[in-house]
């Protein structure tokens, strides 16, 4: 594996801007009341409006607009008092009206930002500016049957008219990792706001990237032609495509010396199998979309009252939440990061747990080590987790009271999860009982009698020798508390001398 050189030693800077299309989680489409659910049989979720029949007219979905404003506010955007709809015109079989209703020169929001940071400090925290976020309708899906001789195309218009929020960043990212981090953080913001399910497989979130290099030339920088990279089906693919593309562009620069303006903007597609980008024949190269205001729709006004109301109902912002977990719950930056990145429901589980057991650090450990592992193993979400925060807190309190050691507590936890039992029930089922002190003293005394050598070692100052006694005690009675065994043995030895 080749090690990436230190940025300062690179002969160039990478410049990346992202365009993200997010499907909003509305029940119905943007301009008609057809269902937006994914996976229905082709062309069953359509009506005269979304399939562009003559005479049908669009009516805006207020909920989609509200979700867009909410997202824009979460991305720190400016919201102008009025916005409008424009037609973006091009011919394609999955675009039944011959135009897409979008927003051109007066988007519903502009000039926001999203802060990105890396807990491993591989880059310095930075603020990526958001140029604009606007709402538009999705096109349909073309399905090409490429079997030889029977090449045939089919169109599914179920997706046509689904609300898409297009979020455009400024070219503020200077590595594939930064771009990846931006996407992770953006997705987190969207999930926390509940505005989209962000499912890339179902096309709820699509990313295009613009990338070029600024080549160091003594005191100045020479920009190279911009390339738009498409067809990236996961965040990992975005990262890899951009890494590949930066290397490729540097090679091209060394070969051709082409600067920005020397060549037209190129569109390339990422081939995930071959791990390369390839030139794509854009479906409308150098096209003129002939944007103009859609006369079938009226401008949308946004009142300060409406914005205030949305602001009040705004979900938690991940960056703010990380801060809160550190200041209010005393977690470290790393732990706060891990928890927040798991999403709002896990954070809620954590705060409930921390509240109930009174020890945030302990709660954080349990959530990160035990709950999250279990979720991963079972491939479920925290909503479906069988042990409530209150019940887990009970177990943690028993451990804190010394009734269980860490490893026994884990056994109990496992049993609770598997059998949906309370800590008490689980302990009974596992045969774990409280061992009373008299019994324990007797046990320890007999062990000391049987192991004079260890007693001698301990007396000679080798405290760790006691471990062997603890092991033997556990063998005889698995319910003993090791800490207690150790304490009693030490006390007895001390009494001997």
């Amino acid at each position: 594996m080749k090690q990436p050189p230190e940025p300062d030693h690179l002969p160039y800077k990478i410049v990346i801007g992202l365009e993200v299309h997010v499907q909003l989680a509305t029940r119905t489409k943007l301009f008609c009341r057809c269902n937006t659910q994914f996976g229905a049989p082709p062309n069953t979720q359509t009506c005269p409006v979304c399939i562009g029949l003559p005479g049908a007219l669009p009516v805006m979905n207020d909920e989609a607009f509200r979700l867009s404003l909410q997202t824009a506010l979460a991305l720190n955007c400016q919201i102008p008092p009025s916005t409008k709809w424009d037609r973006k015109q091009y011919y394609y079989p999955d675009l039944p009206k011959g135009y897409q209703i979008s927003q051109y020169d007066l988007p519903l929001s502009h000039d926001g930002f999203l802060e990105i940071h890396d807990s491993q400090q591989r880059f310095e925290s930075k603020r990526v500016r958001i140029r604009r976020a606007h709402l538009e309708e999705d096109a349909g899906k073309s399905i090409h049957d490429e079997r030889s001789g029977t090449a045939d195309s089919r169109i599914d218009l179920n997706r046509t008219g689904t609300p898409l929020l297009e979020i455009v960043s400024e070219p503020d990212m200077s590595s594939a990792l930064e771009a990846r981090t931006f996407l992770d953080e953006l997705k987190l913001v969207l999930v926390y706001q509940g505005v989209s399910d962000c499912n890339m497989q179902e096309g709820s979130l699509r990313v295009d990237a613009n990338i070029n290099l600024h080549i160091r030339d003594r005191e100045t920088w020479i920009p190279t032609p911009i390339v738009e990279v498409k067809n990236m089906n996961s965040f990992r693919a975005v990262e890899r495509a951009l890494e590949f593309e930066a290397d490729r562009q540097f090679d091209v620069w060394q070969e051709t010396g082409q600067r920005l303006g020397d060549a037209p903007k190129q569109t390339r597609g990422w081939d995930d199998q071959a791990e390369v980008t390839r030139p794509q024949r854009g479906k409308e190269e150098s096209s003129d979309y002939r944007y103009f205001p859609d006369p079938d729709l009226v401008p949308v006004n946004v009142s300060p009252q409406q914005l205030d109301q949305i602001r009040r109902q705004l979900g938690p912002i991940p960056a703010v939440l990380r801060e809160q977990l550190q200041t209010q719950w005393g977690l470290g930056a790393y732990d706060a990061d891990v928890l927040v990145n798991q999403g709002p429901r896990l954070v809620q589980y954590f705060t409930q747990l921390a509240e109930a057991c009174g020890d945030a650090k302990e709660a954080s450990n349990w959530v990160q080590q035990d709950v999250m592992r279990r979720l991963k193993e079972q491939q479920t979400e925290i909503d479906a987790f069988p042990v409530s925060a209150a019940t887990l807190a009970e177990l943690i309190r028993m451990k804190q009271a010394g009734q269980l050691d860490r490893s026994r507590a884990r056994e109990v936890f496992q049993h609770m999860c598997d059998h949906l039992q309370s800590p008490q029930q689980a302990m009974t089922a596992l045969g774990i009982q409280q061992v009373d002190t008299a019994e324990l003293s007797a046990l320890c005394r007999s062990l000391l009698d049987k192991n004079p050598a260890i007693v001698a070692d301990v007396k000679a100052g080798k405290q760790q020798a006691i471990g062997s006694l603890v092991g033997q005690a556990k063998k005889q009675n698995p319910n003993v508390n090791p800490a207690q065994v150790k304490e009693i043995c030490l006390q007895l030895i001390a009494e001997m001398s």
Binding site: L53, L57, V59, K97, F292, D296
Partner: protein
């Protein structure tokens, strides 16, 4: 007097009194359609059986004493770009010649629930683009007053069927004068409502910001009756006005006292046919005699109306008509022939080793688009699509579309200012009477000038009405144009009713009818 000479209002009361039945009424108008449609060509499609069935149902309901709608038993014609569920809606275009909408336009729903008898679909200029109905790809409509002449357009069939007594009520659409101009040419009364007054849902768009559905009939009273049914807010049309609809038929008879009528000087300038001028002046005198105060007014930007209109309307049309691409519905070129040709061409280029030509040659999809549109649209539609595409193109948008929108705002302001001084604006509907078929067909610009006096109301979004006000020496009707401030349809109707109480131009009947 025959049933077909009665107005809708008269038919309504006769039906209510039980003197006549809906079946009789429908039968009488049907007979007239059978007798004259071949000559006049007003209808593209008629539905005799369904109309008679509907009439029977209404008679039965009435016989049972059940409540019936305001247009119960009265035949109504629909311009064939208003969608009717399960029945062809063609826009008089080859492109939609076999298009069957799966839904009813809002106005059709309203007519059905008013118990109107929908008797047929009328001819128009293709996609409502034209002023003579000559651009229809599906039939020729003639002017009942002179079969050599055009009926006007684009609602030519809608006006001609009224004049020929084939229906008492007719629904048209008006984008630049398409109700008022054919009404004037055919001697009937036609109203273009305020933009947003009548829902456009289900009206196949020509120019969305200008299109408006409106009533046509043989009297102001009937126009009021029909408008009452058509008008009203519709949640399916975002541009629909959420304003209550007055009872036009009830306020109709209240005379307008202290009426101030504005007359734009420019509307009586050179180029106006002297006989039209005389008839309109005579109309003006009627109002003066009824006590109206006549004032000369200025609409300073009026002379830019045609230019602005012929940028805005084609721009919107170029976009609205993009959907007719042969992919999902409507006309599609012969695919088998196209593919055979493409294969042949590809083989030839391959054999010649001309790889660059091969790469540049259009794929079958692009060929399908191109040929479908070339074959499906007529020349006038293509001309306007090209005009609009040009006006919206990068580098031209500001100079054409944006500038036209600025002019449009100025024209609206002109009207606002004028209506501070006057209640109505009066003038001729058209510069001349109906012209002979073919006369302007080769000169699109002279055809566009037919809209000279009417486009202002569309650009400003205000209501306007065309009222018969006389005849030329050759016996062709002349129309009087009244324009009012937004949502003042009732003022227009009252003024037209006043006029028709003292004149009988609207009752004249072409000899063939």
């Amino acid at each position: 007097m025959s049933l077909i000479d009665l107005t809708a209002t008269e038919l309504q009361s006769q039906l209510a009194l039980g003197h006549i039945t809906a079946v009789e009424v429908t039968g009488a108008f049907w007979a007239q359609i059978e007798r004259l449609n071949e000559q006049v060509g007003a209808f593209l499609a008629t539905r005799r059986d369904m109309a008679l069935e509907a009439a029977e149902r209404i008679d039965l309901q009435r016989a049972k004493g059940a409540a019936v709608g305001p247009l119960a038993g009265i035949p109504v014609a629909l311009k064939d770009l208003i969608c009717t569920q399960g029945e062809r809606t063609t826009c008089a275009s080859r492109m939609l010649a076999s298009f069957v909408p799966p839904y009813d336009a809002t106005v059709v729903e309203r007519l059905r629930s008013a118990d109107a008898i929908l008797i047929g679909k009328t001819n128009l200029d293709e996609f409502a683009m034209g002023g003579s109905t000559e651009s229809s790809a599906l039939g020729v409509t003639r002017n009942p007053w002179d079969l050599e002449c055009v009926p006007g357009g684009s609602s030519g069939g809608a006006a001609a069927c009224l004049a020929a007594r084939m229906v008492p009520l007719s629904v048209g659409t008006d984008t630049g004068g398409s109700i008022r101009q054919p009404a004037a040419f055919c001697g009937v009364t036609g109203l273009k409502p305020t933009y947003g007054r009548v829902s456009r849902y289900g009206l196949i768009a020509f120019a969305s910001s200008l299109d408006q559905i409106g009533p046509m009939a043989r009297s102001a009273e009937d126009v009021a009756l029909l408008l009452e049914v058509l008008a009203g807010h519709d949640a399916r049309d975002s541009t629909s006005a959420a304003v209550p609809v007055p009872r036009y038929t009830e306020c109709l008879r209240q005379p307008l006292s202290g009426l101030r009528i504005g007359v734009p000087r420019a509307h009586f300038a050179d180029g106006l046919d002297p006989e039209v001028a005389a008839a309109v002046q005579e109309g003006l005198r009627v109002y003066r005699d009824q006590g109206a105060e006549i004032r000369e007014i200025e609409l300073p930007h009026g002379r830019y109306g045609i230019a602005a209109y012929y940028v805005i309307a084609p721009s919107e049309a170029s976009s609205n008509l993009a959907r007719y691409d042969g992919v999902h519905y409507g006309y599609r070129t012969d695919e088998a022939a196209l593919l055979a040709e493409w294969r042949e061409e590809s083989r030839r280029l391959m054999d010649a080793g001309d790889t660059s030509a091969l790469q540049q040659s259009d794929n079958p999809l692009v060929r399908m688009y191109r040929r479908t549109r070339a074959e499906g649209f007529g020349p006038e539609v293509k001309r306007r699509i090209m005009l609009g595409t040009y006006a919206l193109s990068a580098g031209y948008y500001d100079a054409y579309y944006l500038k036209a929108q600025k002019v449009r705002r100025l024209i609206r302001q002109d009207y606002d200012r004028a209506f501070e001084q006057v209640d109505l604006i009066l003038g001729p509907v058209t510069p001349g009477p109906a012209f002979r078929a073919g006369e302007k067909a080769s000169d699109p610009l002279s055809m566009y000038l037919v809209d000279l006096f009417t486009v202002g109301a569309n650009l400003a979004g205000i209501p306007a009405i065309s009222v018969p006000c006389g005849f030329t020496s050759r016996g062709l009707p002349v129309g009087l144009h009244l324009q009012a401030p937004p949502l003042e349809e009732s003022r227009l109707l009252r003024a037209a009713y006043m006029y028709q109480q003292t004149t009988d131009w609207h009752t004249r009947k072409p000899s063939l009818a």
